[in-house]
């Protein structure tokens, strides 16, 4: 059965154990509005869709029901120049803070080509699990997209690493 926008919204809300009131409060709308969205009686204003996606820690594509591959392999003839790619490190906290760090992949490439090693980030519980050299190797071999997803159970922070 095809999932409607409203039923998807309801599923996403329940996944985060949120009430309609809580969603309404975060989105600056009435609870009745959220109820109408979930029952497919109306739809949110287009300008609020990015905020709604952020609230549920998903992309706009996912919110609108478009299948987004978490990681994909790109054949050799179709790959972008690795120097033009960015590695995006995304932190979403449970209480609504969002941090996005975008680093050119060229940084890792230049560091590795010089014979240096990447520093270990032991001070961060999430980042210290990540091997950026291996991520770079994967990208060189044609793998892009969302390569890493980590959720910290202690403080509810989600971290994702996306290469594009």
């Amino acid at each position: 059965m095809i999932e409607t926008f409203g039923s998807r919204l309801q599923r996403l809300r329940k996944n985060l154990n949120m009430t309609q009131d809580e969603v309404a409060q975060r989105m600056n709308v009435s609870a009745q509005a959220v109820s109408k969205w979930e029952n497919d009686l109306s739809a949110p204003d287009i300008s609020t869709l990015p905020s709604l996606a952020d609230l549920f820690h998903i992309s706009l594509d996912e919110l609108l029901g478009r299948e987004v591959p978490t990681a994909e392999f790109v054949p050799a003839g179709q790959r972008k120049d690795i120097n033009s790619m960015l590695i995006k490190i995304i932190f979403d906290s449970a209480d609504g803070d969002k941090v996005r760090v975008n680093l050119p992949l060229a940084i890792i490439k230049i560091c590795l080509e010089s014979g240096s090693t990447l520093p270990k980030i032991d001070g961060n519980d999430l980042l210290n699990k990540i091997d950026f050299e291996k991520i770079f190797t994967l990208v060189e071999q044609g793998v892009i997209g969302e390569l890493v997803t980590v959720e910290s159970s202690s403080d509810g922070i989600n971290m994702r690493i996306i290469v594009e």
Binding site: D54, N83, S84, L86, S93, D95, G96, D97, K98, V99, R100, V101, N102, L103, P104, A106, I107, I108, K109, I110, C111, S114, S116, T117, L118, P119, K120, I121, D122, G123, N124, L127
Partner: protein, 80 residues
Amino acid sequence: MKLYIIRPRLKLYFWLPVFLLRWKWLWKKIISQNNSKEEQEIQEFLPFVLKGIKFYKKRYGHFYLLDVETKDGTKIKIRV
């Protein structure tokens, strides 16, 4: 590079020199790194960060290095 600080009734923009990206304190704050054992590694890595960012910007144009949004609606962005 340009630093944006945006709050509901306040918008501030600062132009900052790119060499500030070599500022070790900034990177330690970003990655919550307080271990002195790794300081040397970070210090050695920073020139590569600056070189890589300059290379990317020269060839592919501006991009947002950092984009932060707090739960109270404050937004902080660094555009290189």
